[in-house]
């Protein structure tokens, strides 16, 4: 931002910033209009189609090459990942069951943790009646509430 001096003078940078903002707005509006047309959507769809076809051809070629070289392909790695995920899921379930078992025997550690838990009795400042919950506008901080929030 420009700094104030004793003598006001033209601020070239400020004018440049303003120009930048206006240019961005106008260009974005122009591009948005151009891109919000059927021909653009069609050409974009065509481009995505072409990219996907290229990707698929590459993947198939690579798969053949890796098989020939006796190396694992991406599909093999993904399959391995899926196996690992199922193991992870099983571990999660075991972990859950252990947690339940630990809670059942009321472990000392859990009792300690429970003691550290905060109480759940907090109320907002000024809260007293049931109506308060329906009318946040009466809250002391209500100045911060934009007009649109108030019913």
């Amino acid at each position: 931002m420009s700094e104030q001096t004793d003598q006001p003078r033209p601020d070239v940078m400020e004018a440049w910033r303003e120009w930048l903002t206006q240019t961005e707005r106008q260009f974005n509006a122009f591009f948005n209009e151009a891109m919000n047309t059927e021909p653009f959507a069609r050409s974009m769809g065509g481009y995505m189609e072409m990219t996907a076809a290229f990707q698929r051809t590459m993947a198939e070629g690579m798969q053949r090459y890796l098989t020939f070289m006796n190396m694992p392909s991406r599909t093999d790695v993904v399959d391995l990942g899926e196996t690992l995920r199922s193991i992870e899921d099983r571990l999660s379930r075991i972990e859950e069951m252990l947690q339940i078992a630990a809670e059942a025997v009321d472990m000392a550690e859990d009792r300690e943790a429970a003691r550290r838990e905060p109480t759940r009795t907090r109320t907002p400042a000024g809260y007293g009646t049931a109506e308060d919950a329906q009318e946040p506008a009466e809250h002391p901080q209500s100045e911060a509430v934009p007009q649109g929030l108030r019913r």
Binding site: E3, T5, D6, Q7, P8, R9, P10, M13, L20, T23, E24, F27, N28, F31, N32, M35, N36, T37, E38, A41, R42, M44, G45, G46, M48, E49, A52, A53, Q55, R56, A59, V77, V78, D79, G81, E82, R85, E88, D89, S92, P118, T119, R120, T121, R122, T123, P124, Y127, A133, Q134, E135, P136, H139, Q141, S142, A144, V145, P146, G148, L149
Partner: protein, 360 residues
């Protein structure tokens, strides 16, 4: 503008200032180029209560001795990383709400792996979300929960509350949440079923690559990125500006892949079919009926949101059955609605006020 001549003093002062700024610019340019002093994000202390695959349920460590009775659960989007809600200290929405006395949890879907391409919306809404919320209920001993969803996280919140209306969702805060997908603007136009072959995309890529997601979103405002570099250059002397730019840039560029089957379903059922507001969406054999939602609903929308356009978000409250529902329209964009100076001074206090009165 005035055209008065410069005084010698002001000229000397200006030269001195520019010299200082040039030194600062050089130093910060080096920081940026070398990746030095990369801002830490997502640093609010938390513990993992449950995980499944890449999904994690976090509980943030409370910072007050007394918290509101109803726990608050953030539900994240599949499109972006979760630390947008937990940026640096002083700019973290999570940290702010903890200080206000909320017991805060977060369902973070994580960075999908290649094998996650089979995950459908059903898996998120009818399998993982109920399990996570059950754990929160067990942990807190409370039947009620509040859900806050940002962007697609809000869609998940609506789907869950619509599929399980008796599940005890007390409050639902949807931030920049699209519901009317006919209003999705360019994204809807580009996904036109006549030209866009979603099956081929998903069958080819598995998960939709992060690069495609990022470029699609950047195309919505093609000049934003190059001009952001120009503005950065202009403000390189300003430590705070550069810090905030780096945090924001980090998040914007940190795009994640979209799980393939969920993307297929999202495109067909929501983008093409607009089934969420028609009451025709079924997940895991359960119909998602927004009219059965009875939770208090706050719909926060940004007037100049280019990702979830105002036309797609504005009518959310008209589709839910709740009696207590409110709209909050903010002058800003998709990110500035939830993070940044405007959010810190206006949006966060508003959410605090709305939610605290409904969390006792």
């Amino acid at each position: 503008m005035s055209t008065q001549a410069k005084t010698p003093e002001s000229l000397v002062g200006q030269v001195g200032r520019e010299a200082t700024r040039t030194i600062d610019r050089s130093r910060r340019s080096l920081d940026l180029l070398l990746g030095r002093h990369d801002p830490d994000v997502g640093t609010t202390p938390k513990e993992t209560l449950f995980s499944k695959g890449t999904m994690k349920l976090y509980r943030f460590r409370p910072v007050t001795d007394d918290v509101y009775r109803v726990p608050l659960v953030f539900v994240m989007s599949l499109v972006s990383k979760s630390y947008i809600l937990d940026l640096a200290p002083g700019q973290s929405f999570v940290e702010y709400l903890l200080k206000q006395g909320f017991d805060v949890y977060m369902i973070d879907w994580g960075y999908p792996r290649a094998e996650d391409h089979t995950l459908r919306l059903d898996d998120y809404v009818v399998d993982m979300m109920p399990r996570c919320l059950e754990i929160v209920r067990e942990r807190t001993g409370q039947d009620d929960v509040s859900i806050l969803g940002y962007c697609m996280g809000g869609v998940f919140g609506l789907m869950y509350a619509g599929a399980f209306p008796e599940s005890g969702v007390r409050n639902l805060i949807c931030v920049a949440t699209p519901v009317d997908f006919d209003g999705m603007g360019l994204l809807r136009r580009w996904a036109d079923p006549r030209w866009f072959d979603v099956d081929r995309m998903v069958d080819t890529y598995g998960n939709i690559p992060a690069e495609i997601m990022l470029r699609s979103l950047e195309m919505l405002r093609p000049l934003e990125r190059p001009l952001s570099y120009l503005r950065l250059w202009d403000n390189l002397w300003d430590e705070e500006y550069v810090y905030n730019w780096r945090i924001r840039y980090k998040w914007v560029q940190d795009q994640i892949p979209f799980p393939g089957e969920a993307y297929r379903q999202f495109t067909k059922e929501l983008m093409w079919g607009n089934k969420l507001i028609k009451g025709e969406l079924e997940l895991g054999g359960k119909r998602v009926d927004l009219k059965r939602i009875s939770a208090s609903v706050l719909n926060a929308v940004a007037e100049f949101d280019h990702i979830s356009p105002y036309d797609a978000t504005k009518a959310l409250t008209s589709y839910v059955g709740s009696e207590d529902k409110q709209d909050l329209k903010v002058r800003g964009g998709h990110v500035s609605l939830i993070a940044g100076r405007s959010a810190v001074t206006r949006f966060w206090p508003t959410v605090n006020e709305w939610l605290s009165a409904r969390s006792v």
